[in-house]
Symmetry: none
Subunit: 413 residues, 2 copies
């Protein structure tokens, strides 16, 4: 079956935001074995949207729309899509109740235009939205499926995963299964070079690399008449990847993140961890706290942005800061040792660096980041030099810190 | 003049990469005052690309293509575009020389298919490429401009900025200017209800609302024959928005974020701030540290995930935790007071809540978050109830904490 995407939003046409929804939906459709030939972006303009929808209806089996489901006057995606599919809009009483509940739970006043969001095309499947007031919907007419999703990624992503993916999966004659082998501590082109032969010779299953911040994900996808048959095709490729990448692989489960894999290691080895952050300013701890139930292994963390805080809270010596500076392997090491001691934790990961845009020198340029991991007295320290802006440098620093933490647990325990 | 984007690349249709080129080119076109109504993505398929190009030629003055200029057999963007514009391909001798120079400088061997990249549509303006082997090109025919750019962002971005931007600028009779009025502490539909009359009566300038996490952004856009004339059109609308929303507006500058606006307030009033986080686990401090130069006002922060850490580091009393629990207004208040004292800061923002998915009860459900702000002894405490998953609850908690911090500075200092 063929699928196409239409993302609605003037903010995309103005370049205010990057279209991450398109990348997410494309990846999901590829996993489902759907062939995508077109993606489009239009503004909140009913005439142009209608033209696109009519063309899409001619050439694609499934049309996925995102955005333009808000309560405001310029949100016209639903009205236009219903028109093209020949459906009337009717009020959905459960959608109305859910909007009421959503708003009252947050103590927000419901305004008249909120009720617009409870209107849905007659006979459609309503996709209720626990994360916002706009329900999604699936319409079908003459073999064409039109799926409407809210624009905000935190509403679109769970709605697609929980409600649309299983629906589309059930439309497929063949079963498509995939596994995601996730690597940390290796770059995309280096990973790709090591599996070029697999990529070039592939048919079923296929292997596709995806570059993520500080990680590479390799998706193995197979089509077959049953799940068991699809996984039987995947298995030898998965084994081959494990043979080639070894401990760089932290999971084979698409739902497991690097911090979750670390949480599992900490649980298995009964360890506690703490953080001592300078330039990342809390983002490293923030990643660890993404893991539900991490409280058994992460009790506290310290953000020591000033030198004075590094001395007082972590016990970094004044002379180390004077002699080597705050961004140095010596300071990183003392931060890690002192952080572990202050928190009474088995392990401490420390980060200190120059995130920019100012503060760089010839010796210590913007992007220089030291990461140190102290595990019961033993210390691993890593020097990194990142390019890009302040945000990117901090994000990559966090990814490297998690990778080093994982490596330290594997090597030292 | 109208412009549209066509990005060519199977990797976009598979979701392997995020289309950052589209965001970059859209923003540049908006800056140039070009009206963009369509963006499309197609694979390396000459039939589908040709169909799109023919439609684009009918409806847009300028068509910008990216990708598909490589040396391989499936790179057919140039051939297809030349066909649609009725141009023959001829070899450009300078392009040939530059390819030779580029390859030999890197010690790479030139293969026969590299010369394909020296072929350009007859009579076009060639955009030589110091960062790769694919030159870009601009074709003109009957008032339609077709601009071809290489796909890799490190080639596309400098080529656009240095060669295409000045070219397009010279074609423009009008300019478009916009301002972004950003609000915090108000929902999208509530904000829109208050300006419905402005939205309904708008022509030039226009006002469009954008919902962000815990914020609403209102973009005012005007077209005129000069920048000064455009801003003169914007000014009365901007004043009206300030009259209606008052201190909910934290900036009029599209580049300024909420944390940057708070950084400016801290600087103006010479204040220091610290954080005491439980469920947000460092993300609040992480937002503050997004601001370059915040080190003058943010020295340290504490992540106290366990009760023991709340007592030891922040001095929350054992009996408060026993009697009211970690998620209570009493604990939030003591965290804020104790955090300020521990860090010796003028202000402390504290967050404690239940981010889920487990740990909720009937009295204290998942999503219940208390935020407290202590400013030189005075305390503001807020109760929030969020819906959604763990990630969303934490993200909204951070947005509310920043909003409360801003409010506290404005009210108490």
């Amino acid at each position: 079956m063929t699928v196409e995407l239409i993302c609605v939003g003037t903010e995309l046409l103005l370049g205010n935001i990057v279209n991450t929804n398109a990348a997410f939906l494309s990846e999901q459709c590829a996993m489902l074995g759907l062939s995508m030939y077109y993606q489009s972006v239009v503004g909140d303009n009913p005439g142009r949207l209608r033209g696109l929808l009519e063309a899409a209806k001619e050439r694609s089996d499934i049309i996925i729309l995102s955005g333009g489901l808000g309560p405001t006057q310029d949100d016209l995606t639903k009205e236009t899509a219903a028109l093209v599919m020949g459906k009337m809009l009717v009020e959905d009483s459960r959608a109305r109740e859910e909007i009421e509940r959503f708003m009252s739970k947050r103590g927000r006043e419901i305004t008249e235009n909120n009720w617009k969001q409870a209107m849905v095309p007659k006979g459609c499947k309503v996709l209720y939205n626990p994360n916002g007031t706009a329900p999604g919907m699936i319409m079908e007419e003459g073999g064409t499926y039109m799926i409407l999703l809210p624009g905000p990624p935190n509403e679109l992503v769970p709605m697609f995963q929980e409600q649309v993916y299983p629906y589309l999966h059930s439309l497929q004659p063949e079963v498509i299964c995939s596994k995601m082998v996730k690597l940390c501590g290796i770059g995309e082109s280096s990973a790709e070079t090591q599996i070029l032969d697999l990529i070039e010779s592939q048919q079923n299953p296929t292997v596709a690399p995806y570059a993520k911040t500080g990680e590479v994900h390799l998706r193995i996808t197979a089509k077959a008449e049953s799940e068991a048959a699809a996984y039987a095709l995947i298995e030898p490729v998965e084994e081959e990847l494990h043979k080639r990448f070894g401990s760089l692989i932290y999971t084979d489960d698409p739902k497991v993140t690097l911090e979750m894999a670390i949480g599992e290691l900490l649980a298995k080895r009964q360890l506690t961890v703490t953080t001592a952050e300078s330039c990342t300013g809390g983002l490293l701890a923030g990643r660890l706290v993404n893991v539900p139930g991490i409280s058994e292994h992460f009790k506290e963390g310290h953000i020591t942005y000033s030198n004075e805080a590094k001395e007082r809270i972590l016990g970094v010596s004044h002379s180390t800061l004077e002699q080597y500076g705050a961004v140095s392997p010596q300071t990183a090491e003392e931060m890690a040792k002192g952080g572990a001691k202050a928190a009474g934790a088995d392990i401490c990961v420390a980060v200190t660096g120059i995130a920019g845009p100012d503060g760089g020198t010839e010796d210590k340029p913007v992007g220089l980041v030291y990461i140190s991991c102290c595990c019961m007295g033993k210390v691993l320290t890593q020097k990194n030099l990142y390019t890009g802006g302040r945000g990117k440098i901090r994000e990559y620093s966090v990814a490297s810190a998690l990778t080093l933490l994982r490596q330290a647990i594997l090597e030292l325990f």
